[in-house]
Symmetry: C2
Subunit: 234 residues, 2 copies
DNA sequence: AGATTTTTTGAATCTAATTTAATTATTTGT
DNA sequence: ACAAATAATTAAATTAGATTCAAAAAATCT
């Protein structure tokens, strides 16, 4: 069995895992299920992946690659566009990514939480030892900053072309936008929620959210093109 | 054994759980550990709490109560203050809450993720059945909106007294701020991180983040009083 | 072909949550 | 004050599920 077949086996396991994690979530997915889905014995899963967390880290790696790909396609397509338009598209695409690849997005956010612990000697030992042993976790240490690198370039472009406030620092601004998007997902998800007896639909909130983002980036009240206007409030 | 003693037992278990979850995290904490810490047999834990998730939901309930308390103290103290000052204090206090009660904050955010699933018929069945059985989960359904109710009042006050943009909608604005704070924690945590070979200290980022928030809320570049100025960029 | 290494399996092990049956303590009715 | 009833508590048994292991099968090498 050459390198190719070996990699193919790993991919079979990975796509079985992705399918199941997406359908049922991490905890509800049993290693037995993965084995059955990948049509091989449970023991073989452990030949290719050190443990369940390692398998999940491989999925997380895939999630980062996917997200990086989405980001870089938007940047590439936007060479001639204004920075603000690129950011608008990024944000709009990110919402779609959250909706259609929720499991991937959760994996990315989960990894960020692990990194918070990892970056402190004081909390490093709170990380599940199975994660620290995971070879795929180590590979992620390299990949993790790729999406942000691209996002920062987008802000820089906007500052350069004058479509964003000149006083924005690209790193901080990009990370702040990403914070907002991550928090948006946690707080709202794709749900239409009823809060405090006031119905705020998911669309209403998203729209208001986008306008606030625009104020932040440009200091004006112009709505992003992508969002439909719903009354004058935001 | 009267109602009082029964409640006391529950509290003993709860505080044992809080201590252990804080120190080691949910998964690393075994029911055996909780029993030992609370000085009782493991079986008794199950007499008072339906299962481990139920115990965690009780901790989450406590977390919401704590957070609600923090919010309402700030509101009460700020009757005479400008809305913007109250928000500044809220944000500053929230950062402290994240740092000093990380486990509580994680519990709150985790609960939000569960609620995202819960609010959709399509995803409701992805919730761990143990959570759905948890009596403490049901209690949380009532409590969950309390912090936001208070936060929304703060924004309203600011809009009324003119210290915030007049066109802000309190609900959306508050939830957006909360999104930012939650995302900030996920992305950054309390760590000084090195990103893309550019060192951004936790303080630098926090400062830039706060300035961006101010632009959003007021449309000006005035820095919040609480953050030290570090150069002209944000 | 025979030896060696790699892949694969199914069964065994181990950990930790949950359940249960039995025991002890407390309350209630007389 | 005392038995019956009820509640609290324990320790042991059960179960689910991740991980390990020893042996079998397949592939590769010489």
């Amino acid at each position: 069995m050459g390198v190719y077949e070996r990699q193919q086996k790993e991919k079979d396991i990975l796509s079985a895992a992705i399918k199941l994690f997406t359908a049922k979530g991490y905890h509800a997915t049993k290693m037995d299920d993965v084995a059955k889905q990948a049509k091989m014995s449970k023991g073989l899963i452990y030949f290719y992946y050190k443990n369940k967390e390692d398998l999940y880290m491989a999925v997380t790696k895939k999630a980062y690659e996917e997200l990086t790909d989405v980001f870089s396609k938007i940047l590439a397509k936007g060479k001639a566009k204004k920075g603000i338009e690129i950011i608008d598209e990024l944000v709009e695409t990110y919402f779609v990514f959250i909706r259609e690849n929720t499991m991937y997005h959760d994996a990315v956010v989960n990894f960020m939480s692990i990194m918070n612990l990892y970056n402190h000697t004081a909390t490093k030992d709170k990380i599940d030892p199975l994660i620290m042993e995971s070879p795929n976790f180590l590979k992620l240490l390299d990949l993790q900053h790729e999406p942000a690198k691209i996002g920062i370039q987008m802000i820089s472009q906007g500052v350069r072309d004058g479509s964003l406030r000149p006083d924005l620092q690209p790193e901080i601004t990009f990370y702040t936008i990403w914070s907002m998007l991550i928090g948006f997902e946690k707080l709202n998800g794709p749900a239409d929620m009823e809060r405090n007896d006031i119905k705020i639909t998911s669309e209403t909130w998203k729209h208001g959210f986008l306008r606030l983002l625009h104020v932040m980036l440009r200091g004006s009240l112009a709505a992003p093109k992508t969002a439909a206007v719903q009354g004058s409030l935001f």
